[in-house]
Structures are given as structure tokens and as C-alpha cells.
């Protein structure tokens, strides 16, 4: 189970005092059509990049709020974990990136018609964002605009 007790004391104290951003009001888009006719995009905060892409930058104050496109045809075994956080165990997702970026499983869902299709790209973020203002004002809305333009109906978002 994910609990605060997994973290070192200094991080636990930081998280205890951290002013979490409360989403209010909570927006809600009902499912417009059956999943078997819907296009799905995957979003991950595990800091994955494909070969040749700029790694995420752990030195950015407050967190790197940029994101990368991950092409739908990517071989998941070629994804590089550039997440710099030491507050979680990286060994599982390095052994099998589907642990945090389940693109092989989503291809299987599309192949058997559980979902209509997979979008031509997915999006990768790096999650150690302690100051999420720029994420909320800029890169989050930009990510949404791109997926809307792609005709995406539903999205699965996976933290790490």
C-alpha cells in the first residue's frame, strides 16, 4: 500500500505541511459514447522520454512542468526513466515500464475492442512538481488542447 511511512522523515514533514491544491469546483465530462468507440490517451508522470528526447530537468525550481509526446508505436522497453526523485523505488518500472506506462496493455485493450482506439501519441510528465502554478495555467491546458485536437475522448493518468 502507498503510505507516507514509505518516505524519509524529512519528506514526511514536508508533505505534512504542504498546501495541496484542492480542485474546486471539480470539473466532470460524462462519457460521450461507449468505450468500445472511444479514443484513449495515456498520461504518465514517471518522467519517461523516448531516445533522443530531452530528459526532464530536476534542477528547475518548483519542478519541471514540461511534457513530451510519446508516439503510440513506441517500444515500451526503449523508454528511459529520467525521473530524479529518490522517494520511490525505480527498479520495477525499469524492469517493466508497463508498471507506470501500460502501453502494451492498452494496445491489447484496443486489439480486442474494449476501447475503440489508442491515440497516436501519449504524454509524459515528471511529477516532482512542488509549485504547480505553471502546470495549472500553461502546460496542463496546452496538453489538453493537443489531445482535444487529436479527437481523444478518454484519458488514463498514471502517477508513480
Amino acid at each position: 500500500m502507498g503510505t507516507m511511512s514509505e518516505f524519509p522523515l524529512s519528506l514526511r514533514l514536508f508533505l505534512k505541511a504542504y498546501p495541496w491544491r484542492r480542485i474546486d469546483p471539480v470539473p466532470w465530462t460524462p462519457l460521450a459514447k461507449p468505450l468500445s468507440e472511444s479514443r484513449l490517451a495515456l498520461l504518465s508522470s514517471a518522467g519517461f522520454v523516448v531516445p533522443g528526447q530531452e530528459p526532464f530537468d530536476a534542477a528547475v525550481r518548483g519542478g519541471d512542468v514540461s511534457f513530451r509526446d510519446i508516439p503510440a508505436g513506441v517500444d515500451v522497453r526503449t523508454l528511459a526513466d529520467t525521473h530524479r526523485s529518490e522517494s520511490f523505488d525505480h527498479s520495477g518500472l525499469r524492469e517493466d515500464p508497463n508498471v507506470a506506462f501500460p502501453i502494451d496493455r492498452i494496445r491489447e485493450l484496443a486489439a480486442r475492442g474494449r476501447i475503440g482506439s489508442m491515440n497516436h501519441r501519449h504524454l509524459s510528465f515528471m511529477g516532482s512538481i512542488t509549485a504547480p502554478g505553471r502546470l495549472v495555467r500553461h502546460t496542463g491546458p496546452e496538453a489538453a488542447r493537443r489531445l482535444v485536437a487529436d479527437g481523444v475522448d478518454v484519458a488514463l493518468l498514471v502517477p508513480v
Partner: protein, 84 residues
């Protein structure tokens, strides 16, 4: 922090007309941030889909997430527990 980031991005997607479901690894963070639709998974940090090289378990998590999208009885914010 990862839990909060995906919740905030999900809210932007929902505002622009995309239905979302997020996985969450910390219940107390999910309750405070309030992503629109969330599946709380009982796995350690670093393992949101469960064990490596376990497609059956990964599919069980995905199916639970898809059910949240399909469940018309849920209201925002919806936080559902995954029981593997």
C-alpha cells in the same frame, strides 16, 4: 507530488471535454486534491500498475479504471478503492 500533478492535469482535461480517470497511490492526497475520477490502488510508490511482468494484474487495474469511466452512478469527485 506525482499524485497531485496527475490530478491537476486531469482537471484540465475534464474542463476541455475529455473524460479522465487517474490512479492514486496516496489516499490522503487524493482526498485533498480531489481529482474528478480516481482509482486508489494499494501498491507501493513506483508500482502504480502493480508488479512488473504481470500482465494479468495490470489488466485488472486497467479494467477497474475503465469501470469508473463507465459508472454513471458516480459523482465528482469520485474516489474508488481497487481491491485486487
Amino acid at each position: 507530488m506525482c499524485n497531485q500533478a496527475v490530478g491537476l492535469v486531469a482537471a484540465e482535461l475534464e474542463r476541455q471535454g475529455i473524460a479522465t480517470v487517474v490512479l492514486q497511490l496516496l489516499r490522503e492526497v487524493a482526498e485533498r486534491v480531489r481529482p474528478p475520477r480516481a482509482l486508489f490502488v494499494p501498491f507501493p510508490h513506483g508500482y502504480p500498475m502493480g508488479k512488473p511482468e504481470d500482465p494479468a494484474q495490470q489488466h485488472a487495474v486497467l479494467e477497474a479504471a475503465l469501470h469508473i469511466l463507465e459508472d454513471r452512478s458516480l459523482t465528482p469527485p469520485a474516489l474508488v478503492d481497487h481491491t485486487p
